[in-house]
Symmetry: C2
Amino acid sequence: MHLFNLKIIKKQYLALGMLVFVVLFLFNSKPAFQCQLTPDSSAYLPTIYGITPTYARLAQKADLTRLSQTLMLVKNFHWIVIEDSASKTKLVENLLKESNLKYTHLNVKTDKPKGSSMNGPNVCLLKSRKFNATTALCASGVEQRNMALDWLRGHLRSPEGTPGVVFFMDDDNTYALKIFDEMRKIKRVGVWPVGIVGGMRVEMPLVTDGKVSGYNAVWKPYRPFPIDMAGFAINATLFLDFPEAKFSRKVQSGFQESEILKYVVTQQELEPLAENCTKVYVWHTRTQKPSIISPKKLKKPLVPDNHIEV
Amino acid sequence: MHLFNLKIIKKQYLALGMLVFVVLFLFNSKPAFQCQLTPDSSAYLPTIYGITPTYARLAQKADLTRLSQTLMLVKNFHWIVIEDSASKTKLVENLLKESNLKYTHLNVKTDKPKGSSMNGPNVCLLKSRKFNATTALCASGVEQRNMALDWLRGHLRSPEGTPGVVFFMDDDNTYALKIFDEMRKIKRVGVWPVGIVGGMRVEMPLVTDGKVSGYNAVWKPYRPFPIDMAGFAINATLFLDFPEAKFSRKVQSGFQESEILKYVVTQQELEPLAENCTKVYVWHTRTQKPSIISPKKLKKPLVPDNHIEV
């Protein structure tokens, strides 16, 4: 009897040990599980396809650097960067590689009309002297964005293609993280205010009963969609539904946004985001063009610095 | 004898069970342990005290937003933001709160000399017409940076004070993440090249045998330290060793950097970083001043937008 009790006690110890083990295992596994959940759960978020045309200039690396550092904080982001160049540059290639972002690197040289300068008549049909004439009013990035859309259509049809939204991002604009959360709600096309653009503090859609009823815009307010490129995003599947949707060099400056939007949406269908278009989460910032002193004007020659990438 | 064997076997099972438990526990705890290590290990990194003076303007929120998003990726960073204003603004206060960064928010209104405009003789002793005369050559942020240094001295003497480096950061400059890794190596004062500043692609210290032997600089090359504010960081303890070290309004424009450095270091002691001053990890970018159309000039009145923060 005594021996029998001992056996039972042994079994109880064993059972207790197992119980302690199970409890400790579960308790301990909790933080591990939490840590592992983070990357997995983001897989269910709609992908954001950010399309960024870029071109060589002195502040290019600075602008791409700070934009890439914002994008590092965005989950499920796929950056499509298209250089306006005959071949891919080492500068952009290395920057993308070192960013650890998911990216696609493309290039296409803008087809300059024969006999015209960069600001020639076919590139900028109308020029305004009111504000930022040389920087804001010349259509740029048309070929680059169209190439990105071609790539995107192929990608979406492939097994790697994931549902998501398309956002056209200039490399020197400013994007608060909140705008990326907003655009994941999009069913068709989402819109929101843009700060410091078109001669205004804020250019924005006006909302009545949850629908876009008009726009606060002073620059070419007769545009079908008086919205800046940073002020909307489009459900990616619409680019499969409308395979002809693309940008065009043949439209008046400032009409690129209206050009692409006319294919995929009507004003009545626009989805106002950013708290019914009352918050500014994107700004059409421009980086000041640097003034560089000509080396010929220097009294004393300097140590050469051409080997240093800026 | 049979019973005795059974007891031994039971004990062996128990021991085996315990062993399995210990192995599983350790195995399972590994990822949890890794996850928890990340924040702890950064506690041993030197703190970076980033000192940023800021002032109200249309692009302020945009500039602070993208800078804050870069800083979110920097470990052990403490942001000291000093507004040039009589009282703290809601805009900066909310931005700092929502950033989740470790920060200290201060304010001090720049003491404008009586009878002088912002560009008056006591503020800008010398004006150059060569480049960016109005933005680059006027001493700004003197009172703000000095207030931050006063706060820092108190903080370093308190139990919360941690060793680290002090970096003076303009709110519209561009900082690649690599520069923060570099400056944690500093013993006394570290220096590195700065992109797009002083009329150059890159203004930089010249290095011979691991020591600074001169500078590539064309703007006021006679400055004791011809280095931009973004081109150096200082070991924080030096501000306790030299309690008199501060910026001054009484020096020629462009001499602020030399003014603070002269207290704490000699050229011979400078530590060249960024691969012996051959890499550009910071850029003196400037955000273009926006052109806003006067509401009086509009043909059609707009919906008021003053309630919207930009």
